[in-house]
């Protein structure tokens, strides 16, 4: 029953986000701040993880290619497919549920327990619009982050393949272009947009409706990470079934 209440309240919150808009000049500044906090500050960790995971994918594929009849290009092909289709959009989004999601829940949750949200409401400001819409708009740039993750993942695979002596540069570049289906990129970015919305709104919901004090802020961050990850994984399954199934 509480799950149904939560889902209903989440939907109402989403509806309210787009009502009684905040003044454009104020909203513009808020969006830039959120781009800085949510996207730019995540660049480092995304680049680091993507590069090394891409490398590991290449090494694992190479080590499992025991059959001499299988072409070496398969290493690049496997790295490309796994990075573009799943690793960059889904795996990075789950990591972002931890990084960006906890940040959103704890920052909004702290505003709730310190009555800053009440202060906004008393002033006649639509607090969900003021607090959550800038995050949703900032997260529209999230696919850009995922594009960087894709690039870094493939670069990591290339470096690991070449410097590990598993594959030549020519073989890698040939394998990278082999049987490339452009729709796979579209599929990856469509689901990235959905994940971006989930990443902005589910943690915001957990922070906004928080009750209690500092301890509850910590608990809400954990709960928000779990639910954001669960919803991302389920959405990934549904979207994959719809587009590729």
């Amino acid at each position: 029953m509480t799950y149904l209440t939560d889902i209903g309240r989440y939907i109402l919150m989403i509806k309210n986000i787009f009502r009684r808009m905040t003044k454009a000049s104020v909203m513009k500044r808020l969006i830039f701040n959120e781009v800085e906090d949510l996207i730019i500050s995540s660049l480092g960790i995304v680049v680091f993880i993507s590069f090394f995971i891409g490398g590991v994918v290449a090494i694992q594929t190479a080590l499992n290619l025991n059959n001499p009849l299988l072409p070496k290009q398969l290493i690049a092909f496997a790295a490309r497919q796994s990075v573009i289709l799943e690793f960059a959009p889904t795996f990075i989004s789950v990591i972002m549920a931890g990084k960006v999601g906890s940040y959103i829940t704890s920052s909004i949750g702290t505003m709730r327990v310190t009555e800053q949200i009440d202060a906004l409401e008393v002033m006649g400001i639509n607090s969900v619009n003021y607090l959550i819409l800038p995050k949703i708009i900032a997260m529209l740039i999230y696919p850009f982050l995922i594009a960087i993750a894709m690039f870094m993942g493939i670069l990591g695979a290339y470096m690991a393949g070449i410097f590990g002596g598993f594959i030549s540069s020519t073989q890698f570049l040939t394998g990278l272009q082999e049987e490339f289906i452009p729709f796979h990129l579209a599929y990856a970015f469509i689901k990235t947009f959905l994940f971006a919305f989930i990443l902005a709104t589910i943690p915001a919901y957990h922070g906004y409706y928080l009750k209690g004090g500092a301890l509850e802020v910590g608990q809400a961050s954990t709960t928000s990470f779990i639910w954001t990850s669960v919803v991302i994984i389920l959405t990934n399954f549904v979207v994959t079934q719809l587009f590729l199934g």
């Binding site: 104020v26 505003m111 310190t114 800053q116 009440d118 409401e121 008393v122 002033m123 006649g124 400001i125």
Partner: protein
Amino acid sequence: MIKVENIHKSFDGEEILHGIDATFETGKTNLIIGTSGSGKTVFLKCLLGLFRPEQGSIHYDGDRYMDMSEEQQRELRKSMGMVFQGSALFDSMTVAENVMFPLKMFTKQKITEMNHRVKEVLDRVNLDGADDKYPSEISGGMQKRVAIARAIVNRPKYLFCDEPNSGLDPRTAIVIDNLIQEITREYDITTVINTHDMNSVLEIGESIIFLQFGDLKWTGTKDEIFKTDNKTVTDFVYSSNLFKKVRKAQLKGL
């Protein structure tokens, strides 16, 4: 003036306010007092429009809140200022930005005009030189002054304060109480203060209502509260040792 009639408010089936009637006059510091759990904060949040009472009505200068459209209610809220118990300053903004916030949100003033007004109210609350500091870098008393400055910057008609001097030392608490009273008279606004501090009652209790377990038990002034025979009120008023001694002296005719 704010007039409240028969306000009832429940949470999860439990009634917290059992039909409160009260009048808060303009130009006076109106106090809501009572023990913890008496429903003071719920009542104040009903006045602010943060909670919607199930029954009863609230009139702001004759206009019934419940009859107002959403737009009218929002406009009314722009004429309210609120000082929260914990100040509720925005952590990510400096003192000046916090005070300027309502102006940025609701006026079309130029930045020079806004800066001028911010300086004016910060001077009024005797807070100079803290403009660029963040709330975490200033003391509790200074935070309260910033909260008052933010509440009055847009020239409100109604000022609400939830335990404005909680967590402050007695001297700072009196300064804050007096500041609120001065501002109330100077701006001729309707001020409603939620408190359980007897020093505040002594200092600024021009009009007092006493709540207990969601019921209105007594109304009067600071002079009357020390003369009342209402046992519920006297139990509350004379609960501290200092006031007990005062009571004993009173009874002995000293």
